[in-house]
Amino acid sequence: MQLELRGITKRFGSLTANDHISLTVEPGQIHSLLGENGAGKSTLMNVLFGLLSPDEGEILIDGVVTPIHDSGDAVRRGIGMVHQHFMLVPVFTVTENVVLGFEPTKSLDRIDYKRATQEIRELSHRFKLDVDPEATLENLPVGIQQRVEIIKALSHDAELLILDEPTAVLTPQEIEALMEIMRSLAAAGKSILFITHKLKEVKEIADVITVIRLGKVVGTAEPTMSEGELASMMVGRSVNLTVEKTAYDPGETVLEIRDLVVRDDRGLVAVDGVSLDIRAGEVLAVAGVQGNGQTEFVEAIVGMRRVEAGTITLRGVDITNLTPREALDAGLGHIPEDRQRDGLVLSMSVADNLVLNTPRRAPFAKCGTRNFAAINANAERLVHDFDIRTTSIFAPVSSLSGGNQQKVIVARELSRPLEFLVASQPTRGLDVGSIEYVHRQIIEYRNRGNGSLIVTSELDEAYALGDRIAVMYEGKISGVVEPSISRESIGLLMAGSSMAAAGV
């Protein structure tokens, strides 16, 4: 099946998740959609699968304009989707899961399991999937569960398979096996749209690569392109912001991280022996493709995730494995990666959010009773000083734009006595003006002689802010470099090359 997307545009309020995206998938082709988290890949796939309707643009199947209204429509047109999070019932057998929603019946509305089982055996054999139709799903390893999803799609005669980040949950061996399956599917004439942000896999499997960034197609790449080139395409170079910095004059070491090991939610090692020193008067930017352990790294520093091994020292004091409260009291400022989840209470007022993590600090409370005069005065002052655009300090934070919401967090953190600032993706999703503002605040903080650690997946941001740039890859620091280094070299480090191989 040939699939063509023409000028697909999808907006959510003021955010344009997909901006005139066009691409073509040929029959038997493995087409890779490469982009960072939040680049708009999943939105595009949901449009294609009929879960979202596009604001503009059209979908062509074999050259015919075919509107897709819902997922049933998509399935009937021969589009199958393997979701990142499987849509399967753990206590059902493979067969039951596969027939779910499209049960073949015999007389008296009984489900024809025999026929279904037979079909699954055939599909399994034909595409070397090796799945036992009678096994109970929850007893199967993740890799096999994923194959059940693939079988489910194939059993509805899918001609085009969408695989949404299929390797995110797999072990290296399972990834290898999945690649084999994808090749055999392509050989049988099925088209595959493979969504990922992992460069190595793309290079290994894809026939064509479409890179998207911030909702736009940045370009089409050949799998022969180097990983460094792909990485810099993905991370982009369009925004060019420069911030006034005083001369780099680092003082004593403020934060010392030694051999840090942290596990992710699945219990896998996400941060693997990271050691870094950050000194007074410097910004250390941690660059890297998202998902290489940065999130866990930051959470471990601010006390939101257990440190498995290693130490974190703040001005000579051990702050390893503090509670979030203790970390706050030790003077760690934190601009969280997901501001709406971890940084704000959207239904509460700007004033309340500005004291969210210091409600008991004088003068905001006396004897357990909140002092609203002080809280409101604080809010008026910060709204003015940090130029937070709001109708009132009593307006709920949800009524503010994303940039102003972020300013609330920046104002809150920078206005309390800090020893060190940790910021994670501080400008994600912000407009250019707000990006510049947040950057200026961070640099002013640094110019006052403070240390900070900024995690970013935007290369431009790393260049703009960092006095040094540490590159993180698969939980390790693959290099710490000066910002004078070329983008290509950093791109190579982001793709996992060693310092020597990157020509540093």
Binding site: V302, M304, T323, P324, R325, E326, A327, L328, D329, H334, P336, D338, R341, D342, G343, L344, V345, L346, S347, M348, D352, L356, N357, P359, R360, F364, A365, G368, T369, R370, V383, R389, T390, T391, S392, I393, P396, S398
Partner: protein, 435 residues
Amino acid sequence: MSDAATSKAPPEEAPTENPPRPALYRSLWARYTSTSPIIVALYALTLGLVFGAIIIIVTTPAVLDAWREIFRHWDALPHALNVSFNNVGAAYRAIFTGSVIDPQGFWHSLTTGQNWPNTLTPLSETLTYATPLLIVSVGVGIAFQTGLFNIGANGQAVIGGVAGTVVGSMVRLPTFIHLPMALVGGILGGMLCAAVPGLLKAYTGAHEVIVTLMFNYVTYAFLLYAVLSTPFQQPGQQNDIGRTLYPSAILAPLFGTKSGLRVSYGVVVAGAVVLFAWWLLDRSSLGFDFRVTGANPSAARASGISAKSVIVIVFLISGGLAGLAGFVQVASTTHYIDGGFLIGNAGIGFTAITVALLGRNRPVGILWASLLFAALSVGGRNMQAATGIPLDLATVIQSAVVLFVATPILVKEIFHLRGTSQASTLKISTNVWGS
């Protein structure tokens, strides 16, 4: 939006047109069509009464007969409408006179100065009914605001009632210390009963809905055991009746025993509870932690709030208030507990869930909601006596009101209300920490 409120906004984000100050009628109209919680609640009450009227019409034989007539001849329609109106009117009049005041009696008392106790009895009964309901509902509301469902308030009230009565009937002390001790006993009993689900939730992740719900059954069994076993059973009784409170441990009638009005010093306790809850939720840093936790557990964690301690403290407060309500119920009405204590229709701990919803989990809102529910229940009895319409209609109206409050979109559609849905959406956070 007032002009002052927008002055802070910079030009590019300010509203493009600044409307002039609205004339009085416009502001009144704006009030009636706004979606403020109070307005929505009033509309919901109206709809609830309309719904109740329909129920009366379709269930009262006399009314149905009148309607059946119109199939035979058209001109029976005015009569049918008249009969319907009379029946509904009589029922609602009975609810009002039975729960608030009878205007004729009130006028009589006002002009002659006689018969005041009789005139005030409905109001007194409503307050007596509302007092424990208010206290337990405030406790449930505090838990709701933190995103916790305390479905076990009834059981906690039962244990609190038993504990308070044990202190009040088996210990002899002077009044000034005995009554406070018994009240504290009630609070501690409720706390003890709520601590178990609280600790289980905080330390093992056990879901509080299941644990608290099941705990109700445990407490009923305990209640029966208590009123049937030696130390607590009324001496000389074979039935399921507990000991009677000493006079030093009861909540005395507010206007003296001779007035015949049952309303007791319990209303003072309830007033203190509302004040405490208002301070806790709106003024204290602890309550701020509760609300942050209820609205966004992730942000609460990142802001250094310990979910574990919040869960335990909220359950202790919620259970303590339920226990207090249980004892207030005993000490202001029967002065003893029997095996049917807070069971069935009397289960104020369950009614409290709907009262808290109607009051939007705010202390003052709950105050009004519990008065409304008490009035409907008390007035319902009078309606049953006066018109023969069953008491259950009061429950139907109560439920319908809550239903309409819980579906603000429906109410907004019916009355063409405008404004942000945020103000009117009844939001109960169902966030469950981690687990």
